[in-house]
């Protein structure tokens, strides 16, 4: 068999190994939608609080968003292979999500929500989660989100409560909604490319 193995066949085997390993390592997780979902959830909670029911707004919105995320994520996860990177990402975001959830609910129910401190804590946590995740994934765009959150956290401490609130809403828009939509577009482009490649390989 060995003597009949051509150089082309050997190269073909090496290419196959490289392609398959790259396929396995490719980020199969699709999490763009969670950024958009949680961005919208924060907007709903903030708007509802502003209308005068902060004690109800945060718990209800956060619980609803958590349930929705859990249901949608469990459906998506059943079709994916388990990877260490995937589990690391999940650990970071679940840890951060639970912390923010408990913090916002407790502050709003106790009536001790102070906007400057609230933004400082949330900004620091979101900055940490985005930075950690971007370093693991080597994703510069996500690191930019971490920088935006850190900048928001710092700037909010030197302005009025209204201005701090506006800063938070702007950071939320760019780092949750815009970044989430960008992630979804990238995922859809990647899926189309994979489908095209698979179609070509079967042709």
């Amino acid at each position: 068999m060995q003597e009949n193995t051509s150089e082309l066949d050997l190269k073909d085997r090496i290419n196959l190994i490289e392609t398959m390993i790259a396929e396995g390592r490719r980020k199969t997780e699709s999490w763009g939608w969670t950024f958009v979902l949680w961005g919208l959830a924060y907007y709903v909670a903030i708007a509802w609080s502003y209308l005068g029911q902060p004690a109800l707004a945060w718990p209800i919105t956060m619980i609803a968003a958590s349930i929705l995320t859990g249901v949608l994520a469990s459906r998506a996860a059943s079709k994916k292979p388990e990877t260490t990177i995937g589990r690391s990402m999940m650990a970071i975001w679940i840890g951060m999500g639970v912390s923010i959830f408990l913090l916002m609910v407790t502050l709003s129910v106790s009536g001790r929500m102070e906007i400057h401190v609230g933004i400082a804590i949330v900004g620091a946590m979101l900055g940490t989660a985005n930075a950690t995740s971007s370093i693991i994934l080597r994703w510069k765009m996500q690191f930019a989100c971490a920088v935006v959150w850190w900048a928001c956290m710092i700037a909010a401490q030197f302005v009025s409560a209204t201005q701090a609130g506006i800063l938070f809403l702007v950071a939320l828009f760019f780092c949750q909604i815009v970044f989430g939509i960008y992630g979804m577009i990238r995922e859809s482009q990647r899926n189309r490319a994979v489908a095209a490649r698979q179609g070509a390989s079967h042709a």
């Binding site: 068999m1 060995q2 193995t5 051509s6 150089e7 050997l10 190269k11 085997r13 090496i14 196959l16 190994i17 392609t19 398959m20 390993i21 790259a22 396929e23 396995g24 390592r25 059943s78 079709k79 994916k80 292979p81 388990e82 990877t83 260490t84 698979q198 390989s201 079967h202």
Partner: protein, 100 residues
């Protein structure tokens, strides 16, 4: 002239090689995921995975998730060693072919 290495026939099959390469980059993978990545048919994929399982290169786990059957495949340590040896042998052969 140094003796050229043998290529492991269990791994040399294209689909089996693709499967081991895929499994080497993930902790575990579902049958359906392997099928979508290789573009293989259920029957062929099952047969090739069985050969890898019989050789001790992959371990299989069957379970029910939300009342649906799920088959998970994981590369064993023996499979990882075999793939590494295969790649080394392949590189050696390629080097010899280019040098010839």
């Amino acid at each position: 002239m140094p003796e050229l290495p043998e290529l492991n026939p269990v791994i040399h099959g294209k689909l089996r090689l693709a499967l081991l390469s895929l499994l080497s980059s993930v902790e575990e993978a579902e049958f359906t995921w392997l099928r979508s990545k290789t573009g293989s048919t259920d029957g062929n994929l099952g047969a090739q995975l069985l050969k890898l399982e019989e050789a001790g290169y992959v371990a299989v786990e069957k379970k029910f998730v939300q009342r649906k059957p799920q088959t998970l495949y994981r590369m064993t340590e023996l499979g990882r060693e075999a793939l590494t040896e295969y790649v080394q042998a392949l590189k050696q052969l390629l080097g010899a072919a280019i040098g010839a």
